[in-house]
């Protein structure tokens, strides 16, 4: 399937881009995260939540073709 990925905050720095289109065969959000962590080792040092099509989801969420997936890290600053 093809996914539209959006990386926010420090996640964008860890993967070196703010967005990308990724064609990949995974079933769940967890599978996608495992793939991304193997591709970008730095990601494993970060905590982030996942939103699929503008909705926060858990790691067992089943992905569909053309889903928009955003990786949201917490921000400290004020």
């Amino acid at each position: 399937m093809t996914l539209e990925l959006k990386y926010l905050g420090m996640i964008a720095e860890a993967v070196g881009k703010q967005e990308e289109q990724l064609t990949i065969s995974v079933k769940t959000v967890e599978g996608l995260c495992d793939y991304l962590i193997t591709e970008h080792e730095q990601l494993k040092n970060h905590k982030f939540k996942i939103a699929v099509n503008h909705k926060l989801v858990e790691s067992n969420f089943l992905l569909n073709n053309n889903d928009e997936v955003a990786l949201l890290p917490p921000f400290a600053g004020g």
């Binding site: 905050g9 926060l56 949201l72 917490p74 600053g77 004020g78």
Partner: protein
Amino acid sequence: MLNDIEKYRYSRHLLLDEVGAHGQEKLKAAKVLVVGAGGLGCPVLQYLTAAGVGTIGIIDFDKVDETNLQRQILFTMNDVGINKAIAAKVRLEQLNPYTDINSIDQKLTTENALELFSQYDIVVDGTDNFSTRYLVNDACVLANKPLVYGAIYKFEGQVSVFNYNNGPSYRCLFPEAPEAGSVPNCSEIGVIGVLPGIIGTQQANEVIKIILEIGKPLSGKLLTYDALNATQLIVNLTRNEKQVKIAQQIDLKTYDYDYFCGIKKDDTMNEISVQELKNLLEKEDLQIIDVRESHEMPKVEALKALNIPLQTIPQNMGKIAKDKKVIIHCQHGVRSMHAIDFLQQNGFDNLYNLTGGIVMWEN
């Protein structure tokens, strides 16, 4: 009631059907607490004061530094070295004499948070670290106050309204604090000066909407803004009862936020995560000790834990095994840390602290 000078002052609000004299009186009756008078706090305070919010509290222990002036627009060169809450009060009183400003030049702590929050209707988070962010969230849950959240990173910001009309809390979005030191704040990594202006102004807008009961507050939604691309993303959040319950059951007197956020670590203490414990349970015989009071929930039957409340540890040391691994747990992992500290001083070297406490079992 508004006097004639106030009616003139707020005339552009009074012209709006959504505000009017009735709305302006609501603003005057409202009490808002702003935690942190930094990059976010400054525009929040400035707009709420200008809008005529009747009572505004400011808590900040920090002093104005010249490096703050790039974005903390309430302050001038004359304020450098002065406490931010006190300097802000002086400026805000010049802006609007019809607003009562209470400045508190102290750190928000587990001791003062609840009493302070109970005096206000709405709390605004303008803090710059995770320990205080989780404290602000939990104290809002405990005191049942809506929380207008904002946070920034370099060119990006987040805004949301938590704990509003049974909506989600900060813990529903981020149940676990990031590793200590893994997320830098503005003073460590830099921030574009205008960003806290944009995000703080959005927070002020949310506060005013909540007071006036107009529009749709950002409850159940996280707005993220990217200043470099002028794009925003709104993500829907749902309330996670388990996470809200964690906050509801916290006893602020014993909870250690620096420990929860991993800032305080004891190298002499062995830690074990819930997942590691689940794996270990299948492999070897362990003793599990629950140092909570006997009535505290949840109880995990599978652990077959021996209950020895923290205060009774000294007289019950004989019940604690020395010939196998002993896992000590409490609700959130702080009391168990104290128990281990005491027991290690009494010769035990086989103890493990369940990281995050038993509430992590289901997560």
